[in-house]
Subunit: 246 residues, 4 copies
Amino acid sequence: MASQKAWAVVAGVGPGTGACVARRFAKTYAVALLARKPANFEPIVEEINAAGGKAIGISTDCSEGKSVKNAFEQLKKEMGGASLAAAIYNVGGRFVRKPFLELTEEEFESGWETNGRGAFHFSQAVLPLLLDKLNADPEYPPTLIFTSATAAMKGSALCASFAAGKFAMRAVAQSLAREFGPKGIHVTHAIIDGVIDIERTKDWKFDHPDAKIKPEAIADSYWYLHTQPRTCFTNEIDIRPYIEKW
Amino acid sequence: MASQKAWAVVAGVGPGTGACVARRFAKTYAVALLARKPANFEPIVEEINAAGGKAIGISTDCSEGKSVKNAFEQLKKEMGGASLAAAIYNVGGRFVRKPFLELTEEEFESGWETNGRGAFHFSQAVLPLLLDKLNADPEYPPTLIFTSATAAMKGSALCASFAAGKFAMRAVAQSLAREFGPKGIHVTHAIIDGVIDIERTKDWKFDHPDAKIKPEAIADSYWYLHTQPRTCFTNEIDIRPYIEKW
Amino acid sequence: MASQKAWAVVAGVGPGTGACVARRFAKTYAVALLARKPANFEPIVEEINAAGGKAIGISTDCSEGKSVKNAFEQLKKEMGGASLAAAIYNVGGRFVRKPFLELTEEEFESGWETNGRGAFHFSQAVLPLLLDKLNADPEYPPTLIFTSATAAMKGSALCASFAAGKFAMRAVAQSLAREFGPKGIHVTHAIIDGVIDIERTKDWKFDHPDAKIKPEAIADSYWYLHTQPRTCFTNEIDIRPYIEKW
Amino acid sequence: MASQKAWAVVAGVGPGTGACVARRFAKTYAVALLARKPANFEPIVEEINAAGGKAIGISTDCSEGKSVKNAFEQLKKEMGGASLAAAIYNVGGRFVRKPFLELTEEEFESGWETNGRGAFHFSQAVLPLLLDKLNADPEYPPTLIFTSATAAMKGSALCASFAAGKFAMRAVAQSLAREFGPKGIHVTHAIIDGVIDIERTKDWKFDHPDAKIKPEAIADSYWYLHTQPRTCFTNEIDIRPYIEKW
């Protein structure tokens, strides 16, 4: 029905990129925000609804298949017959930085749980909905974006866990782009290379102004990617502040 | 003066990407179009001026320093005191595909002339103007974009000349991004991976619709890159049709 | 004691690369062969011992920390006071190729279990021994080699599980090379790109002779890597038959 | 004739890598050393001949087609009916490091002249001889190795000229590997990442011993590459001291 908004789903919503992406996509779509802790999505859900948009939050642990399944059952009820236009996987997870020989198995696995297994469960849940969307003559190609990092390109010392996870995420994103791109789904691996400008990093000082990435600018980039027509897909993008060394 | 439009310059203007980029940037800026043959820029210059925009064409061979120097002397006169907001290097050059042992030196060098030497002369001409632009409190970061190709990432058999040129172009783009990015200039290497949908390729048939890249969509991507704030620069982007193998 | 041979350990020993690597390193070292099924290492253990070398086999599941721990306790007893000169992680694991939406969690995880978690446990077990080796004034730098694949570089359609695992393995190898290289340990990620010439592939026909990789040649390459002095470490190597497309 | 030695040719012979490669290959082959200045090859030619090997030097500027043509006419006379087993392109050329806007065209072009044009002329001269070698049932696959650098992988600030040249060299090496590999020629791009330990660098101090690459070790690696059978070609190799950051 024309009166029903399509939806976007954002997994991993805290005070930074996730919230800004939710706000940006909420200008056009109803948005579902997934995070483990309701405290992470509640303020932004309220803000969007208060501003006349439509948002819901669902407590979800993407690294657990059952939790993701439950979340999408709930989401589908909320959606009614509406379609899913975009899905952003932005779950941050732990960042463990320590000497390799001091890593516990649990610490090492944490990079995979978020960036590998979590990306798997989320992708398996959203791709059937994005494929359905193709039948609805969408304005923009259904879109799946993964928030990644420089660690997807380079395995630095002391970062084996995080790098293994982000490398794996890039592999999954490439594999999905090659399988689902020809069907019309736009899959992008977004390499965010720099410090995000949020409350937690406000005391991190740099010699230059604008040294941190504004999450609003990331959200704009994600929206732009979503609007690219299928004759012109970008499957990998890097985003960094002008002063970042790379 | 506020009443004076800033300029964009596009080198390499034929019926495809260059013309669309010129049209897109002409919505905001006066545009200067460089090509060796006036026949290549005249129709689009007329079209833009007829539509109420401002465009000029200058016959230029970017692989020759003297020709580039003359072109920019002429351009600066046209610009008066106005500033340069964006520069796009889109010169296509020859594409030589033949067994390596049959290549003449001239054929082998052709990839370099366009993608290496030409990129050098163009960059040396525009970067001082883009740096000046920083003093004018620009709405968007001054931008330099290089149109590249998959051949910048992979040296295929029979393509040594073109690949050598595009690899070199990528090196130049990276080096400039790292030198001029911290000053506030946005430099991007754009990997165009697919057949462009233009008159010359209209009989190239594919099994799927939308199998060729719409040059308008490339132009939109270039414009989007130009609008990214300096907290969020993209230094490399790939653009391909959804059905492209990669 | 000079009379005691140093050891090499090879995890993942079947009829192909693992067996050949074991034979090659057994020319200089005592070798410990790890595989889940004793049937996989028994023939080569017997062969090496019969030929005057020294080999033992230990049933090990590298994806389980406890199994690896038990294996290395047993190995250290066998080694007595001898040192570990080289460690090769060659565990193949499952190769799942199917549409992404048909993958079970277990199937998706299988790539990680072998190439991520298994590489982690093996590395944590061997690195302390390789570091000890540095005190023994070794003839060659202590060496850790990971057998990887083209899937570490490119995530192909239908191969999300395997690619995620191999990308992760590359991340781990890079991170270890950057942490332990400066201490004197030689870590290499070896990209094996082609079909291995073993019993299982003998009916795979190609238009050219020598179209499959001889595992003996891989073993020679690994031995060569081991002999590189610390002024000249190779941290990534690709190995493919001359006719392989890449 | 069995009594006639096969040849190897090394372009770019100074006191470092080139001399060591010449010495190493002279253990098996007669060697021809190319350099612009005879003073660069004379000592090593004398040394090899005095030690019972066979060496000649030919003054050659590889960036000029005519010079390369003359050199190989002379070389073929010297070779008589003997064959060419290996060719190493090791020409260093200038390394210009300066702000991009201060580069002259001549300075910018210097990276290309050595690494692009020079590699082209050398390759066109040696490949027909290496193809001939295939008919002589060679012990090792005929081999063409390019000495490259980290600048082939990353365009650093202030290094546009050198990076453009080395990127182009990598493109040429890949293109040749893909065209001539399937014919049986082994082509390798060797990324030398670090300071070479020669007279000129003897006062460059590092905190660690063995911080510079021993050129003898590079030569050993090149020899190893030459001995790889065609079932097991390495087309790209990185070589760096254990303490190098990468």
